[in-house]
Symmetry: C2
Subunit: 300 residues, 2 copies
């Protein structure tokens, strides 16, 4: 077991495909509101590794479906992810000056522009989910399910609640249940929705859908644990932000509650279980398997 | 010509209907993220007059359709409107402490909670637009058109661009074209989308759709001009915020560019034209006509 030999090549191909999609599907305005789309594209193109959109493609591939038609969905989810980073970095939230080695949106522009760029990215994500090509290619009832999946994963049933709980947990001891709630909502919900998007649009069987959902939750939790670990032991250049910033902000993290060694074990266990969830699939799910391995080494 | 005798009664009935809808369709969470939904409901229930959702109903009524099934759409648009107010009031944006006589969301809670409450309201709006009842009642292709209408009116093709342009125009002279851009995007786009939502879902004829769209643009522009006028001559108790705050912030306003008298004339002219747009409709459009009259007196 280990990474497929062409994994990095495939990763790069899909990253390029997402980048081209974002350039095509997120408009650039001229005139009075050009600053808005400048800020949106600044953050969209600030070096994201495109994990979530790539999971959209990998989920479709596992089902034996062509991933390319899912491009508007993949870009919509990356817009949602990017908006969440812009708002999380704001002074009133995590107050971060750098992300991926570049000034955060409110540093490169200003706070008001960053708030609006986030708002516009979130709104545009739903414009992309109503893309004319999706309407042509997929049955309407599946598109409705996709809308519900993503609006729930991104909103008060998911990511935004996770961020609220995360902020409220700062600077005080949290229980294991509280930490699980934060990871589950803040990170895992949107990652799981990404993996599941293709299954819903392509009409996967209930068993296949369940497998991808399980994989998505486990990869989502593992990803956040690895993220927390890297904040302690990572290298500043790779992280693109100061090491130890969670500690400094007294963030609720997995290593703070369980220690580094148990955190590593838990991430490994979750990723092994994620791969086990994929047993219903043959080699078509190899890219999903590779992504799980890769998250443990985590340059994604 | 003048307001129908039962206008205020009908207005109140629809306001109550919207308020009940919001209470039913926007969840209240318990536990770690309860603060999020507390803040959302605080702003949703802070005395809004429900102009936009009522326009959704009035648009359907003009077509001879039952407005009640449009409740999720009406509530979605009110969620979008409320999110935009919460974010506009933030210290980095308009920095307002009061709205409708109550502390703004970031004053009643805090900035981070207000940012997240806005994000969650916007996301939940799209969850409501994918409401199961809409899927049951209306043909899918109309719902897709509605999604595109609203995501465009609220996002970078509409409201968010208008707010960006408004902020960038602060403190400097603006041209008439710039002011038109701001009003068109910041205010008129979502008001027009509200009037048009029912037409799109109920399958209005192109002529009826055009009539409602024209009405919506004109009412939208008139509404913003009246808003600008009221900021100068209004009464603080009715406004719920200090009079003259636009002047103080050197906001681009219609009276600043054209003077009060010409602003009043322009609002009147736009509202007369809005009513003329409704000529294709019989008495079924009387509520829309009344709303136009009423905006001139503007307690909405």
């Amino acid at each position: 077991m280990g990474l497929s030999s062409d994994f990095f090549k495939r990763l790069k191909q899909w990253q390029d495909f997402v980048n081209q999609g974002l350039a095509k599907l997120v408009p650039v305005l001229s005139g009075q509101a050009s600053r808005l789309t400048d800020a949106m594209h600044y953050s969209l193109m600030a070096g994201g590794k495109r994990l979530r959109p790539i999971l959209v493609f990998a989920g479709a591939e596992a089902l034996g479906e062509r991933p390319e038609p899912l491009l508007p969905v993949a870009c919509a989810i990356e817009c949602i992810h990017t908006y969440s980073l812009i708002h999380d970095d704001l002074p009133a939230m995590d107050d971060d000056d750098f992300r991926r080695g570049k000034p955060t949106c409110h540093k490169a522009f200003d706070e008001a522009t960053a708030i609006l760029a986030g708002d516009a990215l979130l709104t545009h994500a739903f414009r992309l989910l109503a893309h004319e090509d999706l309407e042509t290619l997929f049955p309407a009832e599946r598109i409705f399910r996709l809308w519900r999946l993503i609006s729930e994963a991104a909103g008060l049933f998911g990511m935004v609640s996770g961020q609220m709980a995360d902020l409220l947990a700062e600077g005080r001891p949290v229980s294991r249940e509280e930490l699980y709630f934060i990871h589950h909502h803040k990170t895992a919900a949107l990652i799981r929705a990404s993996v599941l998007a293709g299954a819903i649009l392509c009409g996967a069987s209930p068993a296949a859908e369940k497998a991808l959902s399980d994989y998505g939750w486990k990869v989502g939790h593992a990803f956040q644990i690895v993220d927390d670990i890297l904040d302690i032991v990572g290298d500043e250049k790779t992280l693109g932000k100061p090491v130890g910033s969670d500690l400094e902000k007294k963030k609720a993290t997995y290593p703070a509650l369980y220690g580094l060694e148990r955190s590593r074990q838990e991430a490994r266990r979750l990723l092994e279980e994620a791969i086990q969830s994929l047993q219903v699939f043959g080699p078509s799910a190899d890219f999903l398997r590779d992504i799980a391995y890769y998250i443990l080494e985590r340059k994604l």
